[in-house]
Each structure stands twice: as structure tokens, then as C-alpha cells.
């Protein structure tokens, strides 16, 4: 589950990780008031207005139809209000959102941390994630902050450092010091960085993050180390033990069809093709998508119905797939193990009759337990449903359906 910047920063503060302070606002009026508060509380001359969406590249992205960037500096209350007015309700298009963009419902009005002081400011990069091959968490960091880290990794791989944390314990002192030294820090900034990294790792583990990225990790002119931006992704499997974090889920950021599918325990991902599919098992679902492509179609979705394919889930699956007008055929591919194929077949027939107006061809491939009985049920149902037992037969039927459409 992804969190917004403002939510992630609030969580980090609970772990004593210093962040760029700010106030989340829903209206331009709130933004104006937030500026006044920040101005007084942090004696911040300017304020930064940051669009809150689940995607990166906000600073370079623009609100559709305007020149307004997703992150902008306001020098006084009026300016902050105006920027918030421009951003709120608009659709922000960034390199990560694609053409569709994302509607902005909230802005974070944040303190200015680029103020002048005795020392130069610096921007670093730091993220924590799982190294699957080693089965350990790894801290990845670089002196090149504030920019696209994939570009840094590609052009100057020597500027990316990695520190693996032993799975039996937390981040050790020597490791935190090594990170601070490698970032070229000394004095107060060094001490602050050691504390920052140690507390950040505790937050990563304590919150069951799947990924935690701080970019930029910032050194102020008075040697403070703070998180200016934060991307936090929580391990979905761990949400049951973090009810407070689970309640932060912003459904408006997710695909509405995928949210609806979730209500039926269907695992659905929308794609851009013309052949819908409904499959049991994630691996077989991906393989079925591949087969659709090899048969001359393009998969319109990923849909794993799991181990409980019955009339209700099949009907929900039909409805979700058929919301997409581009779908020209639907392939149902069920390998019945514990699930009996004849029951699934009955589910398909019932769902088909309930819906009444399915106009695209349906191809049903049922294999495994009671496959023959299932094929007979489908063939004798009188519905415009084609059945197959072998996967290769199903592929041929998809090919015919795509060619005819």
C-alpha cells in the first residue's frame, strides 16, 4: 500500500526521524492559513506547496492545461493561496503518472529548508528495501540526491553505496557511521545523520515497509539532517498488524475497477488489450495472458479468481471485465484441482444467464477434476460459450475470436 508524502512524514516523526515540517490542506483557504502557521512556527520566509499524489516527478510535472508545477514555492500568504488554488482539483501529469495524470485532492504546505546559514546545503539520496537474493534489508544511498536515482545508477554506478543489515538484528552503529562518512559528513551533521539513519531503519522495520525512500535526504545550512520528501510503501501482508496505517489508505488513488474487484477477493490488474481473461492462480493467469498475445490478441487484464471460483465470483469477474468496451472476447481458464470443474462450469452458466446481455464470445477452458462433465455442461447449456479442455485448443479459439472481431 502506498502512502502520501504527508502521511509518511507523520509516521516518520513517531520514530524521531526529522522531516521538513508541513500542514496538509484541502482548500486554498487552508493553505493560506497553513502558510501563516509555518511562517510563525518555523520562521520560514517562504513555503513550499506540494501536490499530494501517489507518483513521483511532481516538481517537473504540470497541472493539465496550465503551466503550474506540482511543487512550487510561495513567497507570501497570497502566493501560497494562489498556487494551492491552481493545483487543488487539477490533474497533475508527471513522468510517472502517464498521460492520464492524477487528480490532486490535497496539498502539503511545507516549511522552506533551503535557507541560508553558516554552511552549504547538500542533497543526498537514501532508500531502504529488501534484497531478495540475500534475504536481507539493504540501505541504498548516494551523494547524488534530488535527482532520478535510476539515472545515477546507470551513469555513475560508483556513486551508489549499499549497506546490508544483518537479518538477526537492527542497523549497527558502525554501519550508520559508515553511511554518514560515505556521504562526506562531519561534525554536527555527521552525528545527526547517524541518528537519522538509525531511526529511519527502525521506522522501516517497525512499520513493515516494503520500500522507504528519502529523496532528497537534506543537510541544512545549520547542519540538520532532514527528510524533505518521502515515499513509503507498506507490505500489504503486514497491514493486519498496523490498523492505524491501514486506515490511511487513499482509495481515490487506486483504479476503481481494481478496488471493486478487491471486494470480491479477486486479484485484478487493468491492462490495455482486447481479450479479457479469468484464471485461477497468479502464475497460470500470467501464462494465460502470454498465450493470448501469442494467439494474436492482447490481454485486457490480469484476473486471478483464486481457489474459490463459483457463480458469484465468476459473475463479478464478468462484470468487471465487461466494463472495458475494448474487450472483444473473454477466456476463462481454470485448472480444477480442489475446485471441481463442473461447479465452475455451472457458475459460468448461471452468471451468463443472470447477466443476460453478454455479447462478446466466451471461451471456457476447464481442465482437471471433473473436466469432462464440465465440458458437457457447457456444450449442452445452449449458450454461446465455446469450451476447450487442452490449453492449445483454447489458444486456437482465442485466435479465431480475435480474427473474427
Amino acid at each position: 500500500m502506498n502512502l502520501h508524502e504527508y502521511q509518511a512524514k507523520e509516521l516518520l516523526k513517531k520514530y524521531n526521524v526529522p522531516v521538513q515540517e508541513g500542514i496538509a490542506c484541502n482548500t486554498p483557504g487552508e493553505a493560506e492559513e497553513a502558510y501563516r502557521q509555518i511562517h510563525t512556527q518555523y520562521s520560514s520566509k517562504f513555503a513550499v506547496v506540494k501536490a499530494q499524489i501517489h507518483a513521483g516527478g511532481r516538481g517537473k510535472g504540470k497541472i493539465r492545461g496550465t503551466e503550474q508545477r506540482g511543487v512550487a514555492v510561495g513567497k507570501n500568504a497570497e502566493a501560497v493561496k494562489e498556487i494551492a488554488q491552481n493545483i487543488l482539483g487539477g490533474t497533475l501529469v508527471t513522468i510517472q503518472t502517464g498521460e492520464a495524470g492524477k487528480v490532486v485532492n490535497k496539498v502539503l504546505v511545507a516549511q522552506d529548508v533551503y535557507y541560508e546559514g553558516p554552511n552549504p546545503i547538500k542533497e543526498f539520496y537514501l532508500s531502504i528495501l529488501l534484497d531478495r537474493a540475500k534475504g536481507q534489508n539493504v540501505i541504498m544511498y548516494s551523494t547524488e540526491g534530488g535527482m532520478d536515482i535510476e539515472e545515477v545508477a546507470h551513469n555513475t554506478p560508483e556513486k551508489i553505496f549499499k549497506e546490508w543489515v544483518h537479518p538477526g538484528g537492527l542497523l549497527q552503529g558502525f554501519q550508520a557511521r559508515k553511511i554518514a562518512f560515505n556521504l562526506g559528513l562531519s561534525g554536527e551533521a555527521f552525528k545527526n545523520c547517524v541518528k537519522f539513519v538509525t531511526n529511519l531503519y527502525n521506522a522501516y522495520v517497525g512499520l513493515d515497509c516494503a520500500m522507504l525512500e528519502i529523496n532528497p535526504l537534506f543537510k541544512t545550512s545549520d547542519e540538520k539532517i532532514i527528510a524533505v520528501d518521502c515515499k513509503m510503501n507498506i507490505d500489504d501482508n503486514a497491514l493486519t498488524r498496523h490498523a492505524d496505517v491501514a486506515s490511511l489508505r487513499d482509495i481515490s488513488e487506486e483504479d476503481p475497477t481494481e478496488v471493486e474487484a478487491g471486494k470480491y477477493n479477486l486479484n485484478f490488474v487493468k491492462l490495455d488489450g482486447n481479450v479479457g481473461c479469468m484464471v485461477n492462480g497468479a502464475g497460470l493467469a500470467m501464462a494465460t495472458m502470454d498465450m493470448i498475445k501469442l494467439s494474436g490478441g492482447e490481454p485486457a487484464n490480469f484476473l486471478d479468481v483464486g481457489g474459490s471460483a463459483n457463480a458469484q465470483t465468476v459473475e463479478a469477474g464478468f462484470r468487471i471485465i465487461l466494463k472495458d468496451p475494448k474487450v472483444k472476447a473473454i477466456l476463462i481458464n481454470i485448472f480444477g484441482g480442489i475446485v471441481r470443474c463442473d461447479r465452475v462450469a455451472q457458475g459460468v452458466i448461471d452468471a451468463y444467464k443472470n447477466m443476460g446481455n453478454i455479447e462478446v464470445p466466451i471461451i471456457v477452458r476447464l481442465q482437471g477434476t471433473n473436466a469432462a462433465e464440465a465440458k458437457q455442461l457447457i456444450d449442452e447449456s445452449g449458450l454461446k460459450v465455446q469450451s476447450a479442455i487442452m490449453l492449445s485448443e483454447a489458444a486456437d479459439l482465442v485466435n479465431k475470436a480475435v480474427t473474427a472481431a
Binding site: R132, G283, A287, F302
Partner: protein, 289 residues
Amino acid sequence: MSVLVNKDSKIIVQGFTGTEGTFHATQMIEYGSQVVGGVTPGKGGSSHLDRPVFNTVSEAVTATGANVSIIFVPPAFAADAIMEATDAGIQLIVCITEGIPVQDMVKAKNFMAGKNSRLIGPNCPGVITAGECKVGIMPGMIFIPGKVGIVSKSGTLTYEAADQLAKAGLGVTTAIGIGGDPIIGTTTKEAVELLMNDPQTEAIVMIGEIGGSMEAEAAQWIKANGTKPVVGFIAGQTAPPGRRMGHAGAIVGGADDTAAAKMKIMDECGIHVVQSPADIGRKMAEVLK
């Protein structure tokens, strides 16, 4: 011969008295697997499916001599169950549970380091030696005894492969479902190695998915040490980058873990790669001709 499990394997079920544990233990017993008892904390001393229930795995091991455990414990407690089985000296631990938090698996995997237990899974269909012993949730009747070993990240794709091998008249020795999570006990390479060393297995089907680097590592190992033909398939050629496709581990992170990149490496390492999942059985028949 076979690998990991056979007719002499003595199996206990962790989460024995729950709905899943009860259903699948019954199926395993019907298949002929030697289920010698189960563990449900707090229900020790009772009996379930005509077999003894114990409070702890170590009690179960002492009383029954069990050497294999299958875990149906809910996700929040499954990593603990893995560590308990390891601590009790169980040789083979098969964890079926789906949805275990990743940080729990980091701990469990570390706990197992240097100990004598092997973990299969989690989030897997289990292990089956055709005609002898089923420690898992797969439909037993499609695994016809034969000469091909299967290693797979995916449950239903394993069934698909076994079915195609049966229809091609080849059959299966042992099928190992290694699981689709980011952290698993036995890797593709380790499972392939087991089957390479099994005299009865004449060839191997290796089925992977997008995400991670396990198939590439297995392919390199096969190139250097392989003695038997391998037919390979990677699911997810059409999966978009950055989206999680059902399995927690099935997400394209970089250029190296796409299906195309993996298939290319496998091909370069001498594996017979099929583009369509419908061709697994046919390809194997052709290779073994």
C-alpha cells in the same frame, strides 16, 4: 528413487485441526501419504482424523518420529511455525500459507541458517512424489508416475505442466512447488540440483515468473553442471513493469527480471525454452525422443 518425500516420509501437520489443515490432511491421507499426527497449540492430547494432536512440534517429533512438516498456520503466525519446526529438527518443512509479512520471513530465513532443515515455500502448492507421497494441496490424480521432475514458482502452472506431461505419456517423478514470495526457503537452482541428482528423473521442467533472479541463477548452474535436458517457461511476458501480478514476488523491478530477459538467459544456457505454456508437454516429448 525420488527427491524430498517418499512413501517412508513421516508427516505432521501444523495447523492440523483448522479448516485448511483438516481438508488437506484428509486428502493427503487418501493419497497414501504417511500423516502421523499434527500440532495445534492448546489441543494437545486430543485426536483428530484418527491421529494424535500435540501442543508443540518437538513433542510431536519425539512421539512419532516425524521428519516432514506441512504448515497451514495463518499468515501472522506462520513464520513462527517455521522456526518451531526448524528448532524441533524437522528435515523438510513445507509451508503452504500465503500472505506472510516479508519481514517475518527475513527473520525465519535467518533463524534457519546453518541448521539442518530445508524449507519449501511459503505460498506454494507443496511437494509431491507421484504415486507415493503428497505433502501439499495439489490435485493428486493428475501427477502420473513417470520420468520428469518439475520445479515451479506457481501452483496451477505446476498442475498444467503435470497434466501435459501425463498426456504426452511421460509422467512425473517429483514436483516441487517452490512458491511465489520474495523470500522462499528453497530456490529454483537448489530444486533443480536435487532433481539433477535423482537417478529416476530423466528430464526437468522449470517454470518461473517475472521478478527476481532465481531462474537466471538456475540457468547458469544448469549450463555448468546440467546432465539432463531442461524445458523452461517464464510466465509474465505481457506483464507491465512495476505492477504486482498476484504473487508478492511477481513484479518487474528492472531490465533483468522481465520474462524476455530470463528466457534469453535460459536459452543461452541450453534450456529448451517454450514461448507458450501450452507447449510444455509437447516440447518435453520432442526433447526426450
